[in-house]
Symmetry: C2
Subunit: 341 residues, 2 copies
DNA sequence: CCACCTCCTGCAAACGATTGTATCATTCTG
DNA sequence: CAGAATGATACAATCGTTTGCAGGAGGTGG
């Protein structure tokens, strides 16, 4: 709404040519302008309240200083901290964040990403990767910088910021074993996602390393990382193996589903059947019993993703294979796990 | 990364001048171009995969087709649905959403909004309004279209999409009264926010209309809409009035604080003391007992806000006082409320 | 048959910045 | 002191659109 003050105005006020004003204002080209001209221009700019027009600049430099982020489901509490992390890091460097909610559906993701690309984002952060994701594969040729977050893909190698599922599940299993559990089940996430698959494999690996049985009948896969699928999987699992004294859920929401299933059997969570989650989303420490879970540093995940993306956008790391980061989680032991009766 | 195809390319392919191509491609100016030229241009555009450059267009038209949204705290589960609603509505109309997390602090809000304005957003959706908010007041002169969401302000009149706090609190109080409660307390939100104040006043009003006492000793104000402040307020309230059989909390998170305070006194939520919340944020139906609360149509709040904003951006409603919308909530009765013993 | 109107299209100037190149005044060098 | 080197600034093109204006072709009416 305010009167638009342009570079030309600043130049006139300082008594120089617009191009000189431009150079005086830009840090990299400032050295080519004489000391006192710089001062005059900077003074004029401040006095007039000059703000460069991002569209004009972007048009010329072919950079929008904008990055797009695609979220599978913005209502999932998981993504709040990630977004906050990304945003704070990008903000420091003058980038803005365009958020797009893919709303579960795959076709919709396509459209949403297209519109981000049309907007000429300088980079893309995807939280929607599937293990086999042809869509992402051919995306890599359409946009300069891409970073995956939370989930990764097995196609084209891309930098990915994820948690160390092997370590995280290890903590959960070791915790249960230390409490004395031996009959431990797993409610897995969809194996089409790296998180579902990774935790599934980690569970089997760790069970074996503790000399415990991890045959397929102690494992049930939920169709989706949500409460209801978790409930359904837990019902099946406990029907097949009523002797289980503990369940490792691949995710907090699945763990909530387990709560419900356990209660429906007239059993007590923590007492009869211990449950562990994964993620440590907010508020679940207020459950009864409070959920034992594996805490992932999600905010940091966001900042790391932003850093990795900027490294690629600025071309710092154009060379070599993409670096991925595996963040180390920690176990948060609460009331949903206890020694078996 | 792809070879950039410009309007000039399309024009050459179609054998016309770029300006003609532009007119043929834009819906409003299309009528001035002959039928078969339009077809030729559109065909060429499709064949080449032409996508207009948003920066070039925006520079010329002085529109970015971008709106900014400022959130007080992106980790609050409340805002997920609102954002989703805003985004889906804006997306339909070709707008993109720039999200900024104000991270509680007021100075930070200033900076965040400035950067949105520098980005030349066409409009602004603010979820951060305080009742008395000089910052917003002078913002109104700096940006064309502003809409408030969730909270409103008492300064400059601006369109605001909020819930009907009076109706919502009325439902909660009436529900408790119907169950037989007479000694009802209120854990209020900060009265510096319209939501805190509105629900506080609504509580008093409804209590009186039921001929119940609502003196200041049955009301305690929490410093912030979060669990811990809610806990602290509830502790004070119950120490002062141990005879209360029900608490109306101004918000779900405050209600969770009440849960904790009630339990610390060795009492049972729902049995000894009933509790109601406000908002119906996800997952709280899984608590024990599940929270009785007032459900607000948050997604709709987002779409309404987007519609109102577009009306102002496109100048449809430049005339007259800003229209505000009060969305009607519904009561969701669950286990945290019961007849008094 | 000429003038005029209508329809379409092309021309060129913006929008506000960045940047390669030219120009000019110095100062330095031999 | 001539000529080259240096340093500071100005000029002008460019990024990809949109849009006011001019002009040409063809048709119509007087």
């Amino acid at each position: 709404m305010e009167s638009q003050v342009t570079l030309k105005d600043v130049a006139r006020e300082a008594g120089v040519h617009p191009s000189t004003a431009s150079r005086a204002l830009n840090a990299e080209t400032r050295s080519v302008v004489s000391q006192d001209t710089v001062e005059r221009v900077v003074g004029a700019a401040r006095r007039l309240g000059y703000r460069p027009h991002p569209l004009a600049r972007g048009l010329r430099t072919n950079k929008t200083m904008t990055v797009g982020m695609v979220i599978p489901d913005i209502e999932n509490p998981l993504f709040g901290p990630i977004i906050a992390g990304v945003e704070s890091k990008l903000g420091e460097e003058g980038y803005s964040l365009l958020i797009a909610d893919a709303g579960h559906s795959h076709e919709y993701t396509q459209g949403v990403v297209d519109s981000l690309i049309e907007r000429r984002v300088d980079g893309l952060i995807l939280a929607t990767a599937a293990r086999s994701d042809p869509f992402i594969d051919n995306l890599a040729t359409r946009v300069g910088a891409i970073v995956l977050v939370n989930r990764t893909t097995e196609g084209i190698p891309l930098p990915a910021i994820v948690t160390d599922d092997h370590a995280g599940i290890g903590m959960a299993v070791a915790h249960l074993v230390a409490l004395g559990h031996r009959d431990i089940g797993h409610v897995a996430g969809p194996r089409s996602l790296s998180t579902g698959m990774g935790r599934y494999q980690a569970f089997i690996g760790w069970m074996h390393s503790f000399d415990l049985q991890a045959s397929s009948d102690v494992i049930e896969e939920a169709s989706w990382f949500q409460v209801s699928p978790g409930y359904e999987a837990a019902v099946k699992l406990l029907a097949r193996r009523p002797d289980l004294t503990a369940i490792v859920a691949a995710n907090d929401l699945l763990a909530l589903g387990c709560y419900r299933a356990i209660r429906e059997l007239g059993k007590e969570v923590g007492g009869d059947v211990s449950v562990t989650g994964y993620n440590d989303v907010p508020l679940l420490d207020l459950l009864h019993p409070p959920l034992t879970t594996v805490r992932v540093p999600y905010r940091q995940m966001g900042t790391e993703a932003a850093s990795a993306l900027m490294a690629r956008m600025t071309g710092t790391v154009r060379t070599g294979a993409p670096v991925s980061v595996r963040l180390r989680p920690v176990l948060v032991a609460r009331g949903s796990t206890a020694a078996p009766l």
